[in-house]
């Protein structure tokens, strides 16, 4: 499995809330769901922690370092500040073109 997103690609974190559907273990912070960011680096492939936590076979998934502007996430903060977060590929989707153009 190779990485689908190259550094510099604008992505969005899926606005998904599996914790509302039942027991789960996820490593994607709640404050980034639905947020757009930019791929900073491909960190490699790691066994999916969502399976590991339940002792299921855990396929390796690409892991990225993703950069987000910090103020839009909290509606406060200083322009230029940022958040750099590890996120697995299955949590990412391409940013919508309309928002990209805006």
């Amino acid at each position: 499995m190779s990485a689908a997103f190259a550094p510099g690609t604008r992505i969005r974190v899926k606005d998904d809330w599996p914790e509302r559907r039942g027991p789960c273990h996820i490593r994607t912070p709640h404050y980034l769901r639905g947020r757009e960011g930019v791929i900073q680096a491909v960190l490699g492939e790691f066994p999916n922690p969502e399976d590991l936590a339940f002792a299921r076979p855990a396929p390796r998934r690409p892991l990225y370092h993703v950069l987000f502007e910090q103020p839009p996430v909290w509606a406060e903060g200083e322009s230029g500040d940022s958040l750099l977060v590890e996120i697995f590929e299955h949590w990412l989707e391409p940013a919508t073109p309309s928002q990209e153009a805006a």
Partner: protein, 200 residues
């Protein structure tokens, strides 16, 4: 009087270790070795890596591209440890490390995390109001510096490579190591010159 009962938590731990051993997942010797290497780890390892990177540009490049290999150069066994990533502060950019989900911390090179690193307060605030957190630590960044909060959420462990302070020209690796504190290695503080040296 009979001897005090063994705490329930330790009894539970014994059973857990026995169950892991029975399944062939881990041996008591492996646990003892990991415990010993974790006990040996201290922020001085990370501090020395930073000092060496300040003095040796090829080591600095290794540190930034393969933190685990850079740690092994210092005699740290990284077998079985999570990969180590190192993020470089530079003029205009400062990194602050937090783990909002739990307490991921580069233990192999910094040892056990301090209690505040695991507190709800630090974890919630570092990612939301990092400048207020830095101000409470007394950490003043030069004007125009952007703050980049590194939320350690998955398989890497992150350490900061601070900037070498002015006034340390000609210092030895030991001298430089002494000014790199644990707190500077996760970005809540900056390396400070000792008062006597700063006054010269």
């Amino acid at each position: 009087m009979s001897a005090p009962a063994r705490p329930e938590s330790l009894a539970l731990l014994d059973k857990f270790v026995a169950a892991l051993a029975a399944r062939g997942l881990v041996t008591e010797q492996e646990i003892a070795e990991r415990q010993a290497s974790t006990d040996r780890a201290s922020p001085e390892i990370g501090a020395r890596m930073v000092a060496r990177a300040w003095l040796d540009d090829s080591y600095r490049r290794l540190l930034l591209t393969n933190g685990a290999a850079a740690a092994e150069r210092m005699g740290v066994s990284m077998a079985g440890a999570p990969p180590l990533g190192v993020l470089e502060n530079r003029p205009g950019l400062h990194h602050l490390v937090v783990c909002t989900l739990c307490s991921c911390y580069p233990r192999a090179v910094l040892g056990y995390p301090p209690h505040w690193y695991k507190s709800f307060e630090y974890r919630a605030r570092a990612v939301r109001e990092p400048r207020a957190v830095l101000a409470e630590w007394g950490t003043a960044l030069p004007p125009g510096t952007q703050v980049r909060v590194v939320d350690s959420t998955a398989d890497y462990r992150w350490m900061v490579l601070p900037m070498r302070p002015a006034g340390t020209e000609g210092w030895s690796e030991d001298q430089l190591t002494a000014i790199v504190t644990r707190d500077a290695l996760v970005g809540v503080a900056l390396p400070q010159l000792p008062v006597a040296a700063a006054a010269e």
